[in-house]
């Protein structure tokens, strides 16, 4: 193998270094560091994982092992309007699967993916604590409750219109 040099924007590397420093570059804080880095970037690209590995003095393979293990972490950039469908017990029994199906169809993507315009990304999550409103979905942080598959088209259109 030849030497690999990974280039990174200064604002990104500065921020990741600051996050690592905040946790004293302790290897045991890997998950916290990954959380905050994903909060900042929206996802965990390979370059970010390389830098975190370097700062925390752990192998990149270990960092990737953790990122690929937990479904919360993603290496795919999130869309401008992230869509999360709750699949917690209450939502599930009230038809969350059908809501997720409707979003898949409307957006043309599967959970874990981002559409090609970078506008929407789709994930499922477990319980947002709004079981009384089941089934629930979050779009760009806003909660939509008592959903029926028929509502999905209008919700998506709401955000598409904002882009016009």
């Amino acid at each position: 193998m030849d030497k690999i040099i990974i280039k990174m924007k200064k604002e990104v590397s500065d921020k990741i270094i600051e996050i690592c420093d905040r946790f004293n570059n302790a290897p045991g804080e890997l998950i916290n560091v990954l959380h905050q880095t994903q909060d900042f970037l929206g996802y965990l690209p390979a370059e970010a994982q390389e830098l975190i590995a370097e700062r925390l003095h752990i192998p990149t393979a270990k960092v990737y092992g953790v990122v690929s293990f937990y479904s919360f972490f993603t290496m795919v950039p999130k869309g401008k309007y992230p869509v999360s469908v709750c699949m917690g017990t209450a939502c599930y029994v009230r038809g969350a699967e059908k809501i997720l199906d409707a979003f898949e169809k409307e957006l043309g993507i599967m959970p874990g993916e981002t559409d090609k315009d970078g506008l929407f990304s789709l994930t499922s999550l477990r319980c947002v604590g709004a079981c009384g409103l089941a089934p629930v979905a979050l779009v760009n942080g806003k909660v939509y409750g008592r959903l029926a598959p028929a509502n999905v088209k209008n919700i998506v259109q709401e955000y598409r219109d904002m882009e016009k």
Binding site: I6, M8, L51
Partner: protein, 594 residues
């Protein structure tokens, strides 16, 4: 020491506190099946994730079955290792494991040596009620690197390789990735091994219980070269092969089979059967001269890089190129014996027999997987033609011998060919930790002092402890020597060098625990440390058996300097026998253009 009394299968036993049920049962002659568990006694290697659950036992008063490999014995414990409940649970565990494991055993490289296959035989598995999701499994491609083949469809997640790579070697190329069915051990971002810090030491292959990690098999290429009438084939055999090959033919560990090995290579049809020990002697001349050169400058107070580090081990070379590139001026520039041999075979010897470089196929038999990678390095090629064309392991040679109907144990002893076959006892000890530096000391002492050694055996440099040190008196000049084997121990010494806490003049480093005797290409030891000990003793016995035991006294080596090379570290030597190192560390830099 505190002891504990317990009952296993209605038999009482007393064991030291902290003993696992697995080891307590072993003392009673009860062998509980294991798969993920791996303990390499004497080498400080222990894999105990308690993950595979094949070793479960019934403990009275405990609701669930307990994994014997990680459950410690408690006072008055009552354990059943063979109740129907236990046997059924083990069968189910095994069936579930087999449900997503390819059943192409007939064609698998590990067939016959596979621990999962052995369990399936032991439990008499004939059908399987469970069917795993094939599509998930087949999503992993078989990956071929210069040394190692990774077929992650066969990974059983025992994580032994991950333990070797991270704890024993501190290389960090491998980690468990993903979860559920897709979970395997792989590299960062599931990239090719070539793009990882892998050193190709092959210790992962040495411990893999199944066919997930195997060596690149070059036997077919070697057979083709042998039968090609337009090619002259030259073979070299590394020191550690001769104390291990016999095991593949049922001989006792530690059998020295040099004569039979030579006879087998001749019977296979190689045109010239030579010895890497010859070039090990050559390495000592070059490396020893380099050591004395650096020491001389040091004594005169001139600026010089010390300590000098050995450079025979290609996995170790990879390790510092990836992890300590800032120290790449420290190792000796001498090529490894394999590469020195190749360079001489395809220059000096090819001329001697009037053979064009392109018409010579140079093969090496090595205890090592990194040697396969090493011979492919660009700096060891002339116009694209490698000095060593193919490197095969001890295991591959055994396979070749078996294919060729050669009854190895009945072979009469034969001698290596001349001139690249004569060697000394100093060369054979290259095969174990401490051997290279002892060989170098034997020569450097006599060259430096001009006096004969008072004693040839440097017991203070021998042993199997991970890090050792000794001070050798060079007739009034104390020389501090360090030795490390296993890359985690090498790392400790390198960290000390970086911190300026090191007063060694010379350090020998071998990547594999025990040195080449436990290389990734040796017969599988399945964690039996006694096998390594036997090979280790055999290496020193082979040294004792040699009439000449100092490299500079090898008449064939003296002749090549006179006839061809001139002097050690001279112009011709530099051209043929020395190399340089590269910075291969992955680094993250700020992109100033964005």
């Amino acid at each position: 020491m505190d002891t504990i009394k317990l009952t296993i299968d209605n038999r009482e036993i007393e064991v030291p506190k902290g003993t696992t049920i697995l080891n307590a049962a072993k003392k009673l002659g009860i062998s509980i099946p294991t798969l993920c568990h791996f303990e390499f006694k004497g080498m400080d290697v222990h894999n105990k994730p308690g993950g595979c659950r094949i070793c479960v036992v019934e403990v009275a008063g405990r609701r669930n079955l307990a994994p014997a490999c990680v459950t410690e014995c408690m006072p008055d414990m009552v354990v059943r290792t063979n109740s129907m409940r236990v046997i059924n649970a083990r069968r189910t565990v095994l069936e579930l494991m087999l449900s997503d494991h390819p059943n192409d055993c007939l064609q698998c490289a590990k067939s016959g040596k596979c621990e999962l296959q052995a369990l399936a035989i032991r439990f008499g598995i004939r059908t399987n009620p469970f069917v795993g999701p094939d599509h998930v499994q087949s999503s992993y491609q078989i990956e071929v690197s210069p040394s190692i083949i990774r077929d992650m469809n066969k990974c059983v997640m025992c994580r032994r390789c991950e333990m070797m790579c991270n704890e024993m070697q501190t290389v960090g190329a491998l980690s468990a990735i993903e979860r559920g069915f897709p979970a395997v051990v792989s590299t960062a971002f599931n990239q090719h091994l070539d793009h990882s810090p892998c050193t190709f030491c092959g210790q992962c292959v040495a411990v893999c219980p199944v066919g997930a990690l195997t060596e690149v098999d070059n036997t077919a290429k070697v057979i083709r070269a042998i039968v090609d009438p337009t090619k002259k084939t030259v073979v070299q055999v590394a020191p550690a092969v001769r104390v291990a090959l016999g095991e593949e033919f049922g001989m006792k560990p530690g059998s020295i089979v040099t004569g039979k090995l030579t006879a087998a290579l001749k019977a296979l049809g190689f045109d010239y059967v030579f010895d890497t020990d010859w070039s090990a002697d050559l390495t000592i001349m070059e490396e020893g001269t380099e050591l004395l050169g650096r020491l001389g400058k040091f004594l005169k107070g001139e600026p010089v890089k010390l300590p000098i580090l050995t450079s025979c081990c290609p996995a170790w070379v990879n390790f510092f190129e990836h992890q300590f590139p800032e120290l790449k001026d420290l190792p000796s520039t001498a090529k490894s014996p394999q590469q020195m041999f190749g360079a001489i075979a395809k220059s000096y010897f090819a001329d001697k027999i009037n053979c064009k470089r392109e018409d010579m196929i140079s093969v090496s038999v090595m205890p090592c997987l990194a040697k396969k990678y090493e011979c492919g390095r660009d700096e060891f090629k002339v116009n694209g033609n490698p000095d060593v064309d193919f490197s095969i392991t001890t295991r591959e040679l055994a396979a070749l011998i078996k294919q060729a109907n050669i009854d190895f144990t009945q072979l009469p002893d034969e001698e290596f060919d001349s001139p690249l076959g004569e060697s000394t006892g100093a060369a054979v000890i290259f095969g174990t930790t401490g051997g290279v530096i002892e060989a170098a000391v034997r020569t450097a002492y006599e060259v430096h002092t001009g006096k004969p050694l008072p004693k040839i055996d440097f017991e203070e440099l021998r042993g199997l402890e991970g890090i050792r040190s000794a001070t050798i008196d060079f007739d009034g000049l104390p020389i501090n020597i360090g030795i490390a084997h296993g890359l985690k121990n090498a790392r400790k010494l390198l960290e000390d060098i970086k911190a300026g806490k090191c007063n060694f003049h010379a350090i020998e480093i071998m990547a594999c625990p025990g040195g080449c005797i436990d290389g990734g290409g040796q017969p599988l030891h399945h964690g039996n440390g006694d096998i390594i000990k036997a090979r280790w003793e055999a290496i020193y016995q082979a040294d004792k058996n040699m009439p000449i035991r100092k490299s500079h006294e090898n008449p064939s080596i003296q002749a090549i300097y006179k006839e061809f090379l001139g002097e050690p570290c001279g112009h011709k030597s530099h051209e043929l026998l020395h190399t340089h190192y590269f910075d291969k560390q992955t680094t993250v830099e700020v992109d100033l253009n964005k």
